[in-house]
Symmetry: C2
Amino acid sequence: MTKFDEATQAIRVDENTYDVCLDPGYSIGGPLNGGYLMAAVLRAAVDASPFEHPVSTTVQFLRAPVPGPAQVRVEPLKTGKTAAFSRVTLVQDGVAQIEGLITTATLHGAEPIYADKATYEMPPIEQCVKLPDPKPQSGMTLNAQVEVLFDPPTIAWLKGEPTGRPESRAYFRMTEPQDPDPYVLALAVDALPPVVFSAGGRGWAPTVDLTWHLRALPAPGWLTVLGGGRLVADGWFDEEVEVRDSTGRLVAQSRQLARVGRG
Amino acid sequence: MTKFDEATQAIRVDENTYDVCLDPGYSIGGPLNGGYLMAAVLRAAVDASPFEHPVSTTVQFLRAPVPGPAQVRVEPLKTGKTAAFSRVTLVQDGVAQIEGLITTATLHGAEPIYADKATYEMPPIEQCVKLPDPKPQSGMTLNAQVEVLFDPPTIAWLKGEPTGRPESRAYFRMTEPQDPDPYVLALAVDALPPVVFSAGGRGWAPTVDLTWHLRALPAPGWLTVLGGGRLVADGWFDEEVEVRDSTGRLVAQSRQLARVGRG
């Protein structure tokens, strides 16, 4: 069991309740990373399902839970022949923090009937770059758990040179050796800096809701995370992420709606 | 009040319950159209919210409700300064049919900071074509409510000539004169034939879950509905729809996960 497996572990305490212990190692400077929280919630939902994989996940981020004990309540809504539906709630100190709807099914890895190409061809990994290490007082502990190598133009906002388009692209893997799985993908779809930073946005850009689909089980190796967006308006932006595995296969698709920061 | 407004009306009967009467005029050959059902559910969610617009909607289609009386239960989850979260359930004969998570907010129509171009340029409307009228015994009553003019290649599957890619594109408006609004958009994001028909799929392709975001209030006139997909594999496909208003503005974005038909 890796540190990430342990940090997202959900232990069943009764038919519909799981205990989790939210790990301070997944903080993004105060709040815990949304992808990490999804992974913990998904562990419970999959354990409670007769199927093996979380094919669709929607979460609303109602509040920002803190590191420490929390519970996941799983309410099965319907179990069919090929898929099961459930509602999940992450609760801390009796208060709902995250609300979700999850569809589980079992993927078999059959050859695709149709598969689109990646929307972008990444430069070779040797040409991609890390973000500077965060200052210890920033509380950005997530950075130590993941290795993220960026397509350079998409972090040029750091030097005050945003590309003018919402975008964020990187190679991604866990720092502790671990083959990617659906829980690592949950982390990956929400692990990059907000795409709006490349469009000139700044400051805390809270995710309001996020939906992602697991399309195939990822092969071992680096993931490629391609993030973009279509519209920044009225204080809102969309962030869309496509994750490819090391063989180029589409393994996850996500879209989130988030607020533009005021920082 | 148009026929569509009436068919989606939700009348509050107590703090958290709304009565709706599901209209047989929105059938797609047996089941009711998913977009129509979303519109009815959204009426209740918006009425119960202090905000004006459904900016994010996720629904799971648990079962297929039939025309006639039903209830929408709205459970407010959190109301913040800029957005409110709620859970909604469409119930018929005491059984949950549709489960949803809805985020409401108020859009103000400010000039975008960034706006992407449409992913596809539609041919002029004069070059677009209607589907043949459905046979009365097909039960496809939805077709009478909407005017849909297709980009011809995307319905060539009708002649046994699918393009080989998941796609479905059309101009869209209500048959009864009505300016588009968020409820018409809920219908529009799920109104076209499944994109998988253009990739060679056939038969009933049930939507498992659908998420859509309202990005701006649409201007009067025709909507442009651009549908595509990235992967058809393992019995599943994604359908992504982008809706533009008559000024070219992005007004809605959706993604659904659906099963490939066996027909």
